[in-house]
Symmetry: D2
Subunit: 384 residues, 4 copies
Amino acid sequence: MSRRKLRVGMVGGGGPANFFGGPHRRAILIDNSAELTAGALRGKPEEAIASARELFFTRGYGDWKSLVAGEAALPESERIDYVTIVTPNDAHFGPADAAASAGFGVLCEKPLTTTLAEAKRLQATVQASKSPFVVAYTYTGFPMVMFARRLVLDGAIGEVRKVEAWYPQGWLASKLEADGQKQAAWRVDPAKAGASGCGGDIGTHAYEFVRFAAGRRATRIRARLKAFVPGRALDDDFTVLADLDNGGIATIAASQITIGAQNDNGFRVSGTSGTLEWSITDHTVLKHYSGGEPLRLYRLGAEYNYFPADIKPYIRVPSGHPEGFHEALANLHRTLEWTIRRSRGESCPTPFEHPGIEDGVAGMAFVEAAVASSKQDGAWMELI
Amino acid sequence: MSRRKLRVGMVGGGGPANFFGGPHRRAILIDNSAELTAGALRGKPEEAIASARELFFTRGYGDWKSLVAGEAALPESERIDYVTIVTPNDAHFGPADAAASAGFGVLCEKPLTTTLAEAKRLQATVQASKSPFVVAYTYTGFPMVMFARRLVLDGAIGEVRKVEAWYPQGWLASKLEADGQKQAAWRVDPAKAGASGCGGDIGTHAYEFVRFAAGRRATRIRARLKAFVPGRALDDDFTVLADLDNGGIATIAASQITIGAQNDNGFRVSGTSGTLEWSITDHTVLKHYSGGEPLRLYRLGAEYNYFPADIKPYIRVPSGHPEGFHEALANLHRTLEWTIRRSRGESCPTPFEHPGIEDGVAGMAFVEAAVASSKQDGAWMELI
Amino acid sequence: MSRRKLRVGMVGGGGPANFFGGPHRRAILIDNSAELTAGALRGKPEEAIASARELFFTRGYGDWKSLVAGEAALPESERIDYVTIVTPNDAHFGPADAAASAGFGVLCEKPLTTTLAEAKRLQATVQASKSPFVVAYTYTGFPMVMFARRLVLDGAIGEVRKVEAWYPQGWLASKLEADGQKQAAWRVDPAKAGASGCGGDIGTHAYEFVRFAAGRRATRIRARLKAFVPGRALDDDFTVLADLDNGGIATIAASQITIGAQNDNGFRVSGTSGTLEWSITDHTVLKHYSGGEPLRLYRLGAEYNYFPADIKPYIRVPSGHPEGFHEALANLHRTLEWTIRRSRGESCPTPFEHPGIEDGVAGMAFVEAAVASSKQDGAWMELI
Amino acid sequence: MSRRKLRVGMVGGGGPANFFGGPHRRAILIDNSAELTAGALRGKPEEAIASARELFFTRGYGDWKSLVAGEAALPESERIDYVTIVTPNDAHFGPADAAASAGFGVLCEKPLTTTLAEAKRLQATVQASKSPFVVAYTYTGFPMVMFARRLVLDGAIGEVRKVEAWYPQGWLASKLEADGQKQAAWRVDPAKAGASGCGGDIGTHAYEFVRFAAGRRATRIRARLKAFVPGRALDDDFTVLADLDNGGIATIAASQITIGAQNDNGFRVSGTSGTLEWSITDHTVLKHYSGGEPLRLYRLGAEYNYFPADIKPYIRVPSGHPEGFHEALANLHRTLEWTIRRSRGESCPTPFEHPGIEDGVAGMAFVEAAVASSKQDGAWMELI
């Protein structure tokens, strides 16, 4: 029997000011292997249903509860395979927990929740239900970041000594939220964003580079959180020093007030025998330094044999035809899709080890420790 | 009444070795505004029909003739809106001509045909039928290339003096066609590719930069075509010197034997008061030089107000989230889609002036003149 | 009467393994305005004298004491104008203090001394003698760094919020000192280098970017010093978080174990209305970001009118003829030379405000506070 | 017996508007191995003598004839070792021929002369006198260009197929000569510059990349010379297509009207098994592409063992301390110096094979053929 498209549900992402709904829909659709099936896309039920219709979802729901319940009530041959959650941070837990409980796969935006406690409850649910779960640390979907991980884990740079992860932005350098910019408004509101603004929004991405690309985790951290823009309740600048589980160290620096910086995340991992460096500003390249040898630039392209067999399926076109942000996001959906398909006995390439529930929890632990540290003028906080 | 998705047909692009079918399907699907409706995707009828089913087309056809006839026979509420043609060069004319005759829109790969005569016949058909027609000079879909065009036409660099357009690749530096590489095989076969290999395949893209970005056309050219790889029937290296219609000059250089070059097209347009430069290797940036002032780098991002109103709708995400090749290709589909929708009275943003049938014809005139010049050791050839 | 060349003395810099003697001699000679007059270039008197002869110094001395005494005893028309000190850190104070006491100008390598107390004693001497004094924070001699300073002080980016200064190197990633590499050996020896290895050697350069380019100073700092290479007595990795005098913050990161990093110092200064960024890896360019405008790249070149009048005299050639490290170092000598000449009534361009004795002292205060902080697991230390 | 500094004469380069006198003096002085001995630096005798005094030459002469005669009359222990010629093109032949005849070494600016006939006469003189002779194709002094040559000659990229050499500038995009700019004035005057403006001034540099870096020579060329600026007598844009002696091809493109281009020369050499690429805009790096392997970046630095033994002595400082234009020029003086010293039995590193008289002649043959070709609308011209 022939393969069918996966059926995808989406919670949030339908409002005119929403940023990430569009990218996720593009990521779902781009590979012609999944369809937009069920949507609960906006806050008000009637708007949610209208939005689903306008955006060509097969079924519209008034809210996530009815979406999860409604889909669960359908026969297996009709109901969705997984849910994508694109709401503000405070509205992740509800639908994620319900969807996982109902046995649906989940692709959830980050940070996972607004508190660590919530994150752990969600983790318990996911572990109990064994639902496939991916957290949208989108930058781990860039093939060069995946390759960096593989190289580090394969020992290409020896033992990791130091990880530098960065994520400067400039878009909140002035008080945008005062002008009614919705993307800004919820991100600086503790009720919606959680205890950290900059740290939760982008510091978590930078920390995930430590975990994903360098394969390490922080054992203790100290943090400096600042709100530079007068009257802002949450941090717009975020710096963390970390000790790592293998005796190494890390610096994690994120900012929303670096005027001119766009979305310039990246990392450098220095080991005992080499260094790997990647930046989204040149995202098709991975730099590999090793002592007195020429600097090697790995370049993106499906035809290059240096890519490991489990990364090649994540590259769509030959070298020189730049894939970018949407394809990276699509790669996370791809991992979830392949995980689901393989669980059903379909033959698929091996899914890459993209961030799951435990990375989402680790991100929340990181944010909470950073906030606590900063409140104590940068005291060390253990991370378990 | 609510807007529906456009229905798209595709000819070619279904075989396992086909390169461009995948990108076009991604480009069609990514924006959630069109669907894969009718496919005649491979040479053998039964394979074509199977491929359409596998790739989730609503209807499969055994060949392009039955596709055009079959769709034309359907009621307007069911039939396709446009056809995308992704076959080797020698199989462009047939379906393009038939589709345009039948009143369908057409998005056709380049070079338009294998001869200028064929191209002109197609042009006559298109002019008669008034069918919307876009030629897949994909690189004109990069927003920074569109912006370059706008700046040049608005006089930002004064009168154009010199255009340098380049397109080096390295993938045919060895005799790949001897190893049964299908992409290579048809491109070096005069029967399938036409009279020029490198010139037709990528030289035409470079020449289109002269037309599209610099807003000029060549009045006469001389060419040096070389086949470096022993035993190859068509050129794998292609250099053209041109005189332009305003007294300026151009150099158009393409190559398939530049080892290490990926797909590195770009251009520099020098005018009496400034210079614009773009390269796909840094495709989110447009460089603007003007005398003693600092070099200005325009950067891609929906939020930058320097983008003209008619380019902004072609940018999907905020700065720093790199869009790339698929989005550029999707922008050409977008122009065709909006042209079609507006012709039906739907409200859409203004379509950008992407390459149409006359650019396709101009490309063929360019290739034929280049081949003729090269055969006469580089004699000047007039271009009308 | 016609202008004469300045007469320069040099202490240290004559041994075969010495790194900085050569660059300083090139910097002194390159502009045809000074000559190598008196040298006490090596540790052993006879070697010192032989070295001075071989290197074409007019007069050789066995040690710095006899150099200072000998020159001071000469008539003004013969004796040196200033002394360049190129010894390891522990041998800066002696000759600097003596030379300044004797009324000679001094250009001293950094870090100024091995302890803050020593630095302050030297400062007292210099203030008493009013001797012109320049500290070789060489990177402040790059014209683009000078221009950054001018732009910040002129308000081009508003009020400074955050300074990031970096200086990664990789040359000490393995235990080079065990192989008898002399440059490595003294730098990791507390007796010769002082209390900090990486911090003293290159962290001070990074901190000087905060002072010189951003025009700010740290009021308190916390530091993380690490010795990654087993058996190394001094830090080879150095990270400092700082609070600045205007309420802003800074991060200063230096490392000697970042394999592949060459000498890649640089900085980014983010203000309330813009950002400036410079890196030695692209040292002829200064990036200026300001909100929604295109990124401006100022490029090096004597003919660009955007350079302030007091920086132009520090640029030797037209744009595109890259000046580099030697010219930057020569610019510090130039500042000292012009200061001396003007003190004698000669007409010269205005010397730029390159780092003087107070910057040297500030660097030592910075290093000592960093070492103290690190010993207390990163406790905050006030800087006065 | 101890080594002495070489004694250098200079003809031209003393006027306030002269560009290249300064760089050559810096190049001579920077390495502390040569001194400014005899100068005939300006057109008018009294100014020439005053200028020599001001610039600290040991002896001033009123013109080059008296310089050559005067020095030749001195005892060997006093007279100069070589002459540097920094006059406009029409004043190269006289002093070069005289100096070579008198047995002095010569370092002559390019283009060698104003006509090929003159160049050949000079060649005859040089061959007869066996005087060491270097032509100031300065860019061959960049160590990465030297390394490219070595790699090509050692077969690192197989057989050369194609050489692309470029040299865009923008400084003559407007009629600068009308404003009395002296550098511009003589360069656009056929009486002083020769038959080609852009081609002679910078096209010759680009062609020398073909010879020096790629190790090939043109056997026939066709050229397009344009004067874009109204009223200009000589070309300000220059494009040449060439056939090479091994069956390969080359494109040589130079321009003075590319606004914003500084001095951006470079080259790409494509061979049967790899490609090398260098540009002065990133001059410390040499790119080496070879098929499916990662791109290798060789980086400048005295400590890198990949540098051949005969290039290392031309690198002064460790990696990351950028050497640039002055050091490249100094490398040409260094080659001449070492050639002279070795001829006297002094021990020196092996001089690199920098351009000599035959390269100067080849450059003139190239320019004359280009001018002739352009006059015949681009007809092919043989180069012998």
